[in-house]
Amino acid sequence: MTDTLLTVHGLNTGYGAVQVLFDVAFGVRAGTVTTLVGANGAGKSTIMKTLAGLVAPRAGSLLYDGREIVGLASHERVDAGLCLIPEGRLVFPGMTVEQNLRLGAVSPKARSGHEEMLAEVYRRFPRLQERRRQLAGLMSGGEQQMLALGRGLMARPRLILMDEPTLGLAPVMVKQVFEIIRELRDAGFTILLAEQNARVALELADHAYLLENGRVGLSGTGQDLLEAPEVRRAYLGM
């Protein structure tokens, strides 16, 4: 078995009076795709935001690469190799594709050698190179998702957190995004994926957790969850 890159333990998070996560625990092994599935409002995005440092947890521990990261600022986590591709993509709309990508390498560790990384991102996403002078806000949703991914890769992450990467995309683009995720895993990246699109996400997942009302329900391999009756009934419509 490969090493565990991320271990979440006893995580409780909330906004104001509302508690969203209750004692959430899961792990992400290096070099795998781990998927969080669950309905809208189950807490997937809150887990992602907590991991990225955008929301502070109320209790719990986040061990990344053997180190406690609760209390680290977002930019320190990026520098440590943990990078969030946010829900809704959040590209910088008034900047060109290339400016967006260069900003991805803003962290001190990524700044050196960011030219090679830019070439690598262009090699992986030729579409971005074709459009590198275009304003990001004028691109299609699928292209913006690729840009958000490329911008994340510029930070040279080890663990990529993807929050709903297929949200609002056309079916053909959804397929392409999952193809890219597969390629990234094969290239050695570790990926934590939050996805409503349960079937495709589970087919791809090495390991998966079902999140229900802020608690981890089932866990197992992607295949296990695909075959679990409660998943089939609630999320796959079977």
């Binding site: 990078c83 008034g94 900003l103 803003v106």
Partner: protein, 300 residues
């Protein structure tokens, strides 16, 4: 365009530095005003044009600098008093920056305005409690020296604004303006950069306030913290255009010359024209005078 900007800037700077040699009091007064507004609008742009956090309270930095400088004039050498004024504004910005910069959009505008008014009233209370209703300032350097200092501040602020824009700091600030959450996720140290820009934009106005008060030779809190200073800075920067370093220079130039022309003929109309111009520019010329210059020269 870039070369043209540099030539234009150099010509302005050299012209400004040469004027005191002429000994012409009117011309010196004009250059003093011009350099003052360039320094203020340029400083404002370091925070507000780059991040989109629009400060409507920059008079507070001008006023604090003026107050500290006036208190110290005659006690310490003139240069030290000025530097202390700038430092006081910078420290004040550093102290209030973190909480203030957590507030965004219209709330930030209102908060900065309210803070400036609060400080103005506090200083007025302190002064009246001390039984002083205005301070005469003695041992003021010659007007020539004041003009040179002000022109130097205008140059410094312009170089500073250019440096901020064309550095990694500027790229980070632009990311914050575009989308603060996204900036956070790519690893921009958002809170730290905003604070840095806030302090940078507060420093020079402190020294400017000191010089301006030394020129009038009389300190009165209501005047040193006058909110019209804040309004004028924002107006000039917006009319000049927020996308370039050239913008605040053009805005300050346009407004100072316009006000000179109006003062003599129609002093009552000055504020009305100021307001109308701002409205017209926001509606019809969103890129400001700087954008017009680009278009006139066949670019952009």
């Amino acid at each position: 365009m870039k070369a043209l900007d540099i030539i234009f800037g150099l010509a302005l700077a050299i012209g400004g530095l040469l004027v005191p040699l002429s000994g012409d009091a009117y011309l010196m007064g004009l250059v003093f005003q011009l350099a003052m507004w360039i320094a203020l609008a340029q400083s404002w742009s370091m925070l507000s044009s780059t991040t989109g956090y629009l400060s409507l309270g920059h008079a507070v930095f001008y006023g604090i600098g003026a107050y500290v400088c006036v208190l110290l004039t005659g006690v310490v050498p003139f240069g030290v008093a000025l530097a202390a004024g700038a430092a006081a504004s910078a420290v004040f910005a550093g102290l209030i920056g973190l909480p203030v910069l957590r507030v965004q959009g219209p709330y930030f505008v209102i908060l900065t305005y309210g803070l400036a008014e609060l400080v103005r009233n506090v200083v007025m209370r302190i002064e009246s409690a001390l039984g002083s209703f205005g301070r005469m300032i003695f041992m003021v350097p010659s007007f020539e020296v004041l003009v040179w200092c002000m022109v130097a501040l205008g140059i410094l602020a312009t170089l500073g604004a250019a440096a901020v824009r064309h550095s990694a700091l500027g790229a980070g600030l632009a990311a914050i303006r575009e989308n603060e959450v996204a900036a956070e996720t790519v690893g921009v140290p958002v809170a730290r950069l905003k604070l840095l820009a806030f302090v940078a934009s507060a420093t020079i106005p402190g020294a400017v306030g000191g010089l301006a008060l030394l020129r009038t030779g009389y300190f009165e809190p209501a005047q040193a913290f006058d909110p019209v200073i804040s309004f004028t800075i924002v107006t000039m920067a917006l009319v000049g255009g927020t996308e370039t370093v050239r913008g605040p220079v053009l805005g300050a130039l346009g407004f100072t010359l316009l006000s000179e022309a109006l003062w003599s003929s129609l002093p009552q109309l000055y504020m009305i024209v100021l307001g109308l111009t701002l409205i017209a520019f926001i509606l019809f010329v969103p890129r400001g005078l700087s954008g017009l210059a680009d278009r006139a020269l066949g670019r952009g």
